[in-house]
């Protein structure tokens, strides 16, 4: 359900959250450090800016920074903006419902289950902040998980 767009966006936000407050990071640098195609990242950052998660400045010293403290940015809120309403399959959404050609909305058991799944996903993602996510993984975690 998380598309490349969603994943890249979250990685970029995590990278920005490690920047000292108030400093901006250039798109090229951000793209290279996280192995994200730059053009794609441009589009993703534009969406994130429009939704109020990042701010940008043009020019030589320009770039992107978080618009809000990372502890206040919830992962679920970001994913909705980048990937839509967290639907595991296209029909499992109330507001962006796309019908399947093989079944009926009201009776399809798969759809009902997937609606529950997405609410459970939202529950987890809406309780996780960017700062919490940014503290996960990384080199430290690698050592903990694979003790030599």
């Amino acid at each position: 359900m998380l598309t490349k767009k969603g994943k890249y966006g979250l990685k970029a936000l995590a990278a920005l959250s490690h920047q000292p407050h108030g400093t901006l990071m250039g798109v090229a640098e951000l793209a290279q450090a996280n192995a994200i195609p730059k053009k794609f990242l441009d589009a993703i950052l534009a969406d994130l800016r429009n939704a109020g998660f990042v701010r940008s400045k043009k020019g030589k010293l320009g770039g992107y920074g978080l618009a809000r403290p990372p502890a206040e940015i919830m992962i679920g809120h970001v994913v909705r903006v980048l990937d839509g309403p967290l639907a595991p399959i296209p029909c499992a959404s109330r507001t962006r419902y796309v019908p399947c050609d093989d079944c009926d909305v009201a009776t399809c058991q798969v759809r009902h289950l997937m609606l529950d799944v997405r609410n459970a996903v939202a529950e987890v993602l809406d309780k996780t902040s960017l700062s919490q996510m940014a503290a996960l993984g990384g080199a430290d975690m690698l050592e903990q998980k694979l003790p030599i």
């Binding site: 109020g52 809000r68 919830m74 809120h77 903006v81 309403p85 109330r94 939202a122």
Partner: protein
Amino acid sequence: MSGKSIIIIGGGASGVLLAAHLLRSADPDLRVTLIEKQGQFGQGLAYSALHRNHRVNVPARGMSAFADDPDHFWRWLASREPGKHASSWTFVPRRVYGAYLESVLRDAGASMPGRLRVLVEEVEALHERPDGVEVLLANGSRLTADQAVLAVGHETQPARGKGLAVRAGSSRDTPLDPDAPVMILGSGLSMVDAWVSLAGGQHRGPIMVVSRNGLVPRGHHDVPPVSIDAADVPFGTSLTYLTAWFRDLVADTIAQGGDWRSVVDGLRPYNQRLWQSWPERERRQFLRHVRPWWNIHRHRLPPDLHQGLVGAIANGQVELVAAEFVGIESRDGGVRATIRPRGTSGRQVVDVARVYDCGGVSVDIRASGNPVIRQLVQSGAARPDAMSIGMDVSEDCALIAADGSVSQRVRVVGPLTRGRFFEIEAVPDIRLQCASLAKALT
């Protein structure tokens, strides 16, 4: 936290709903004291209105005192006025709802005699001590309890107009020359109340309604809310993003033959979460730029009242003016109001017999007309919320002091908590707040 004895200050809708929820507890040792200065329980600012067209702006089916018994009010209404209402999609006079709340309180008190005490007194001060709370009454006596809850609801003092503007229905709202021109500040539901009083009182003179945007509330239609899950709602985004999402959803709904009201009502369960997901800047922008539009769609009128209002505007008795209120001064036989029409820098002077202040219900509690609120603010036990639209409270409704400390013994319920919850003006939301507060307190 267990509080065996609880004092509720304020016996309007919020106070009565909380008492009723508390007394659902099976604890025989629970003691609830409800204190109301007016002597009519359940009939606070909202539900004491006398005119039959001062109506509840929510259909009867949404007005049960208990969220887990949604037909409670409808059953009461149907047995009190058999055959009068074709369906539960009916908008009853507010005094009828006041009588319902009174009966809810009576039933709650009767369920286990001796647990509920009601007092008709004004509360002057509330002090939190390490071992309990102490309430000082205007008659000089003191009460103590384990916990106190402020349920003082709406402000009754006009916020503007230097003591010259009048609240409709207050003691200063004395009879007027029926042909005299009057001005109403504000164009929301309180304005409609004032208009109902004037029109129902055979007032024939012109009524100038002055508000920042010149908008009036829309009318209800009986349409079901659209189904929205939390996973659909773009929490935590900028106001621009959210309004674009909202407009798209309205357009989609209308394209499928639906109604915008269904979207407004479908989003209702998430309004508190949306508000809380915004940073302060977004909340301020919402209050400043979006709220006037939001309010006219969210807080709607019974269809017949809406039609009447539209008719009064069409025939010229009510004139809508988009302007800012600048000031007011006394004049022979009336008042002189100064306004600045929107989009101009010029001032306009209007002589009227009376100016009614029907401005928003959001208040600066530092200027409250209620002595206990003033005392709490002055002593540093309470402070306004960051937006200054109510009282600062924690997520579980505990009072927050001027130094940021969270009270262990004093809570707040109802519209005064709007800084934290925003969507906490009407019974469907207040009853939920009361249910969770009652659970925490018993």
